[in-house]
Symmetry: C2
Subunit: 131 residues, 2 copies
């Protein structure tokens, strides 16, 4: 199976697959005689793992850790859970921040006429007017 098929199979672009190889997230693929990368069922599995992990917001570095734990039959599940809990904390923080921003902007936008007139509470706020 060459890279295009692997890509179609997993939803990871060929560009990304090559990139992952270049940064050693995945081992160098086998090559056909003509130099085409060849992917086994196991490689596809790994790409699925990566795709799913990235989709859950893990950084590539975290995915590398998760993959290494995945491959280690003697891993401690606590390590995996630790990574996830840390990530969850970051997500919570991010959500909190975004919600706070949303509230602020919602208020500002609601107070702005949004028409042809120049008067604008949003700009007043950004400029530091204390309302």
């Amino acid at each position: 199976m060459n890279i295009g098929e692997a890509s179609a199979e997993t939803g990871v672009t060929a560009k990304s697959i090559r990139y992952y190889e270049s940064i050693d997230l995945i081992p160098p693929a086998e090559r056909s005689e003509s130099g085409y990368r060849q992917y086994s069922a196991r490689d596809i599995q790994t790409l699925h793992f990566i795709k799913r992990s990235r989709g859950l917001g893990f950084s590539v570095a975290e995915v590398a850790e998760l993959l290494s734990l995945y491959r280690d039959r003697k891993r401690a599940s606590g390590e995996v859970k630790g990574i996830v809990e840390t990530h969850l904390d970051e997500i919570d923080q991010k959500i909190t921040e975004l919600e706070s921003i949303r509230t602020t902007l919602r208020n500002l936008a609601d107070r702005c006429h949004g028409d042809d007139r120049p008067d604008c509470p949003i700009l007043d706020d950004l400029a530091g007017a204390l309302d």
Copy 2:
């Protein structure tokens, strides 16, 4: 007022101020005889505006637009509001995505013992086990 003071005053690092100048977000600062950048009260105001806008999650490109509207006395407030509403939509999307991820990860983490044993529902999920 030179760059260090301007930075302390506004909370924008000197590095960032120079960077903003380099990308033309702010005009080139005046210079002292020895070549030091000099900032006026109006420059400080602008830096405050940028700081606040970036803090609300606007991209530098959006800040450039907002700044240009801010400086235009004949702006239409609708344009400003448009930018904000677009940004709000993106924020809502982001929050939704993060909440979905959070739910998934919370479930997985709760089902993982998180001890020395290798058994791990998180890895099972990432590997594509259909549970």
